[in-house]
Structure formats: structure tokens, C-alpha cells
Symmetry: D2
Subunit: 127 residues, 4 copies
Amino acid sequence: MRVRDYECDVQGVVNNANYLHYFENTRHEFMISLGIPFYKEVHLKGIVPVVARADLHYKTSLVGGDNFISSLTVERKGIKIIFHQEIYRKSDNALCCKGTIEVAVLQNGKISRGDYFDEFMKDYLES
Amino acid sequence: MRVRDYECDVQGVVNNANYLHYFENTRHEFMISLGIPFYKEVHLKGIVPVVARADLHYKTSLVGGDNFISSLTVERKGIKIIFHQEIYRKSDNALCCKGTIEVAVLQNGKISRGDYFDEFMKDYLES
Amino acid sequence: MRVRDYECDVQGVVNNANYLHYFENTRHEFMISLGIPFYKEVHLKGIVPVVARADLHYKTSLVGGDNFISSLTVERKGIKIIFHQEIYRKSDNALCCKGTIEVAVLQNGKISRGDYFDEFMKDYLES
Amino acid sequence: MRVRDYECDVQGVVNNANYLHYFENTRHEFMISLGIPFYKEVHLKGIVPVVARADLHYKTSLVGGDNFISSLTVERKGIKIIFHQEIYRKSDNALCCKGTIEVAVLQNGKISRGDYFDEFMKDYLES
């Protein structure tokens, strides 16, 4: 992805909150790549994934126009699905932000394991 | 309202798109002050107001920490509801952004006059 | 470009303000494609392009995951540079948003013609 | 503060990234209340506070129009300044988001203790 200028703040660097956006977008692209029929099926089934925790470590700041690589691995941990995500600046591979995102799955409003997702992610799940 | 730092861009001024946010927020505060029961009733009745046009003139740039006044007048024009909105910097009353926002009202997916709103806004409507 | 989920609002459609972001990003990509050395040279020369007016017509709403095409033409009109911009949904070529963005150029804080840009844009300028 | 509608996403709740914005805004309001002359003096002195880590726990989701209370305590921990921040829904005092924000201070580009801030914050610092 490439940093868009409006994502930068007064200091000329990407605002901290936007890394959560990049991470979220990367998870969605990952879901789409797995063929998870998000908007139609998942919500109709009453399955709602929600972020329960986000732990972000900021290393190197991205600036406007920077290209970056956003990667993830995914782990099943009890009832939670944990995404380990990293963003690297493309020009020199510098680590910009490293995050652990814990996702809980609501099924009809109640916390559930969200096994629905495991089948789609089975080739990627670390345990 | 006060400008929040994350609303400013690299040049240190409020990003153009945020004035649309300020205007939107002002219209919503106006609706709430009129007692329009937005989230519960309006959507359940299948009434959806949508912005059809926004014409914005940028005059003076706001910077981080600036306080500003956001004002509006509202006009009924055929099937459209027109909001005339202005944002002034509080310190010296300088006009920052002046906008005309045309709102169309969908009733069950079809364009309608949205007479529902006129009753609430009758003390404010210019014609 | 593809709509990112966080760009959508409660109604499930792209928030109006984000079209200004898409348009801004498209102008910047256009500038980059022309080889305009934005961050380094332009600002150092004291040249600052600012949006003076944005007139947006909203037609069809984009939703999360939609792919879209963002196009522009550029016109020199007196001291202003006018961008005519359109966003089309990729799936069916529906026009989503059409905007006219008037850019003024500040040179050391004063309004100028910004001839600097004309040379770069000469193959694209309509008059 | 009150949730603005454009801060909510498709699910009708405040997007996760916006809690970082609320937290940031609260820290800035806190700084302003202490009389820290941010934009003029601090940056001129080459002092730049940067977020090194943000650990966020999401509990209850805020929705459009919700009023909320944003509180913080601040702690000096070696070279870092740690903010413990919480957001509560005003209507029922439900904890919505709890975060630990670690701030590092750059002085002329190098990590420093940022003692500059301690004097201003001395009545609030926990150790």
C-alpha cells in the first residue's frame, strides 16, 4: 500500500491511529482472499468479529508517499483469534509498526469461538 | 468546537475533507436539538437523508487548537432541503469555510420530499 | 482503488467526506506521475497549492469492498487550476461522484498563478 | 465528548482507531490545561513527543450520539512517560476502552527523557 497524504499529521508522519486502519484493512483483504463471504453471509448468520485488544509498537514513522508492506500471521488461542501484524517500509524494509490484534467473535450477541472462520483459515492457522 | 490535532494535515492546517465532517456534525446537532429521533425512528420508517451536493468555498485555514463557530440556516427548495453552513474562527471571526449542502430524502429507497422533517424544522425553514 | 471498510459510515456507504480524500489522493498520484517533486522541491520553493473551492455532486453510493476508478482532467483558468474529477464504480461503470476542485497556488504566502505547475501539466492542460 | 456519526463504522459502532484519536485529543487537552505552549515553544526547542506503544483493551462499544468521559493519569517510568487512559460511557459509566500509551520524547531527533514536561506535570505525575 502507499501512504496517502491525508493520513499524515502535523509532524508530517502517519498518525498513529492510521496503523490500526492499515491493519484492519489488511485483515479484511486477507479474509477476502480466503473467500469469506463477509457482507452477505457472515452478518446474516449473526456472526460479528470484534477487536478485543490491540497492542501496537511503533518503530519507524512512515511519511506521505511511502510505500509499505503489511503482513500478518494468524493464531487460534482458546476462544480468541490472534493476528500478529507488521508493517514494513518498502524502500529499506524498516519495521514501522508491529501489532497484536485479538479478535473475539460474537454469535447472536454472545461471545463464541467463531469456529466458522477456522475452516477458511485452516491453512494459515498457527496453534 | 475546537480543532483536534489529528484533523490537521502535513501543512499544519485542517484537511479540506474535515470541513465536511464539521458541517455534517453541525447538521446532526441541529437535528438532535429539534428532537428528531434519528437512530430509532427515522431509520425504522425507511427515511434516509442523503447529501446530493456539497459546494464548499475555503477562505481561511484553521490550525490545530483553533476554536471555531459552526452555523447553519436551512431552506426548503422543491424536493430538496438546502443547508447554508459557515465556519468562523472564534478568535477573530474570520470566515473559514462556507458551504451549501443539498440534501435529498429517500423514503424506502425512492426520492421523496421528506416532509417528515419540515414539521420539526418549521421555525427555521426559509423559503 | 478499493473502498476500505473504515471509510464507510453507519449507513454502510462511503462517507461523503471520503470522496474529497479520494479526489485529493488522485490529484497527488497525478502529480507524482508527472514527476512533480512535491515534498522536496515544491515546498522548499515556498509554493503551496490550496483548494479554494470544491463542488461535489453525489450520484451513486459506494459500499465496502467496491472497486472504483478515479479520473481527472485539468484546466488552467486565470490564476486558478481547475480539476474536473469523477469516480466510477468498477463493476458497472456507474458514476458515483463528480467534482470540480479549484486550486489556488500560494507563492511565499501570496496568491500567484503557479506557473511552475503548467510546464509539468502541459500535455494535459485544457484551456 | 460526544461521538460524531462519521466516527462510526458499518456496524454502527465507533471504529477502533477512533479511540486512539480520543485518547490523543485528551492528552492534548491535558497538555493545554497545564499551560504547555505546544505549537510555538515545544517544537521550536526541537522537542517532539512520539507514541512508542499503545495497548488498547476494548470493552463496550460506543455508538453515534453517545456522550463519554475520557480520563487519564500519567506516570514517569525511566525515559518514558506513560499515560493510563480510560473512556467511559456517560449514561451508565460503562468502561468502553482502556489504554496504556507510552510516549518517548525526541530532543533534536534523539531519544531523551523529556524532563521539560515533568515540571508542567509535577502535580499529576505518579512514580
